[in-house]
Each structure stands twice: as structure tokens, then as C-alpha cells.
Symmetry: C2
Subunit: 162 residues, 2 copies
DNA sequence: GATGAAATACTCCGTTT
DNA sequence: AAACGGAGTATTTCATC
């Protein structure tokens, strides 16, 4: 199970990161191997956990969730029940897209999606501030996305731009 | 161009959000339509911009970028050249995965990926702090990811759990 | 890793409701 | 307008080298 990625592995990852529905035959041309060998490598990359999944990306605007906000959340430091309850609530809230436990001035950083500011306000008061142990929140509405989440970048293989 | 999504559209989106490489025939079984009608709907969803792409997700750990950090960046408010220069530099930095212009106490929120804390320090001093107009940064290293980015959630269609 | 054959999936086109 | 069905093409999978 050697998990060193050679140039051809990186090309496979590079192209599938940009078009996950690309046929193996097309991918094989980019990589310079037979479709078979390419599929074999891809299977190995998935099995070894280098590729964790293939996902369609949906337009927030088209789904009526054009407002993105980041929310810093500070919890009471009473006991670990508070953290467990918070974690469970986070999993059940469809408005929350990401939740990171961070080191620094607060406990959690949330990325949330909403129809508009009114919907965000409702989320804040009806969902977030009702959670037990939430002491303080700071909201940062996103005005513009300069760079979209594309996953961790590989050291781009030469000649992969085509 | 009616952009109302019916139950079958939502099922298509739901399943492709979780497995973008699913064959149309399999997808059609989930949706309860013929592969033909399913493919037609998918083409329409892509054409109308509801689906913006299909992407393989890669494991940051497997790629040697196991440290995630969020960085708040505050710029000097001199002129718009500063913002343009910052935007360009953000696009060229492979360590930056997301960059959002936000309202609130600072100007930009970055999501970055690094091998380890030493690599983050190098990024901070060699890349971020060298950018013209950067006045102040605050770093929040991620300790745990409670909920991963899966894109905006649809109102989950009933019976889509299989 | 490559090749060739078999199974499967996709696209195009005509037809139906 | 939307879905179905069939024929031809492309792709994936499997066995073999």
C-alpha cells in the first residue's frame, strides 16, 4: 500500500477535481495511460482514501440560498454535555453547511446559507441562540466570494491545463 | 425556462450531490423515471445553472495538508488598487482554498490548508503578510471539523435515504 | 500496464401522452 | 412540454497476456 502519488495519479486527481463525471476514456487520454490502467488507479485512490467522494455542486442562488454568512460561536465552558448537545444540533440544522471547532478567540466557526437577511435573523434567533450553552455569536455576512471552495489544491502537474 | 424544482429534480440533485459518478440508469431508478427523461432533466439542471459542476473531493490528510486554518484579514482603506492586488494574489496562492469578502469587523475571511503549523507560519510571513495593504490578520486553526462542506442543502426529498 | 471481448450505459431520433 | 422505446455508439468491466 504505497501511498506516494506519482505524476499520473496527480493528473487523475487534477482532472476529476474539475470534472468528476469525465469518462475514464477521456481521463485516460489526459493521463497518457490506457482506460483500464486509469480506472485501476482511480479505484486504488478511492480505496486508499485519497479521493473521499464525487459530488455535484449546486448553485446556492438557484436554490434560494443566496446569502452566505460566517458565524463565530462562543460556548459556556461548563461541561462536555454542552459541547455534545451543540454538536448534535449542528448536524440537524440544514442551514449550517460547515462547522469547525477552532482554537483562538471563540469555539466554533459556522458557514451558513440563507434565502436573505430576514431568514438569517430567523435562523439566529430561532435556532442558534436557542441552543443550550451558546454565550455569544458574531455574524459576518459574505458580500463577495473571491475564490470558491475547490478542495485542497494539488501541486498542479505540468501540462494539465488543457 | 421554469426554474421551479419538482420532487424528481430534487431527487436528482440529492443523489448526485452524494455520488456524482452515479450512472444515469442507476439515478433513473432512484428517481422513478426512464434513463432518458432523467438525463434530459439533468442536462436542463446544468444548463440552467442549478448544478454548477461535478467535483472529486480529495482528502487533505492524504495530500499532506492536514492543517486547516481560517484567517481574518484587514486591509488598509487607501484605494481600490489595494483590493485588486489582494484579489489577484489570492487567486495565485495554492494554500488558499476559499476567500470571502465579508461585512463586519474585517475585510476578508480566508480558508487555508497546510502541512503543519510550521508551514502555516511560513505562509503567513512569506505570502500573506507580504501582500500590499494587509494591515492585520487573525488566525484560527481548525481543531476538529464537526460538519463537512457538502454544498447548500436541499429540502431533503422524502424516501431519498436509500 | 496493455489488449480484446462481453456487458453495460449513453445518445440520438421517432413516437406517444 | 415531458416521457418512453429502440437502434447505434461509446464506455466500463473482465479475462488474459
Amino acid at each position: 500500500m504505497s501511498d506516494a502519488l506519482d505524476r499520473q495519479d496527480r493528473l487523475i486527481l487534477h482532472h476529476l477535481q474539475r470534472d468528476a463525471r469525465m469518462p475514464l476514456t477521456t481521463l485516460a487520454e489526459h493521463v497518457g495511460l490506457s482506460p483500464n490502467a486509469t480506472g485501476e488507479r482511480l479505484r486504488r485512490l478511492v480505496r486508499d482514501g485519497v479521493v473521499t467522494g464525487f459530488h455535484a455542486r449546486l448553485s446556492p442562488e438557484a436554490l434560494g440560498r443566496g446569502l452566505t454568512a460566517f458565524v463565530e460561536v462562543k460556548l459556556e465552558r461548563t461541561d462536555s454535555d454542552v459541547f455534545a448537545a451543540f454538536a448534535e444540533a449542528v448536524r440537524d440544522a440544514p442551514d449550517i453547511e460547515e462547522c469547525h471547532m477552532v482554537a483562538g478567540g471563540f469555539d466554533y466557526l459556522l458557514k451558513t446559507r440563507h434565502r436573505d437577511m430576514a431568514a438569517y435573523r430567523a435562523f439566529l434567533s430561532d435556532t442558534l441562540l436557542r441552543l443550550p450553552g451558546v454565550r455569544e455569536t458574531h455574524t459576518y455576512p459574505v458580500m463577495e466570494e473571491l475564490r470558491a471552495d475547490f478542495g485542497p489544491m494539488l501541486p498542479a502537474p505540468r501540462g494539465a491545463g488543457g
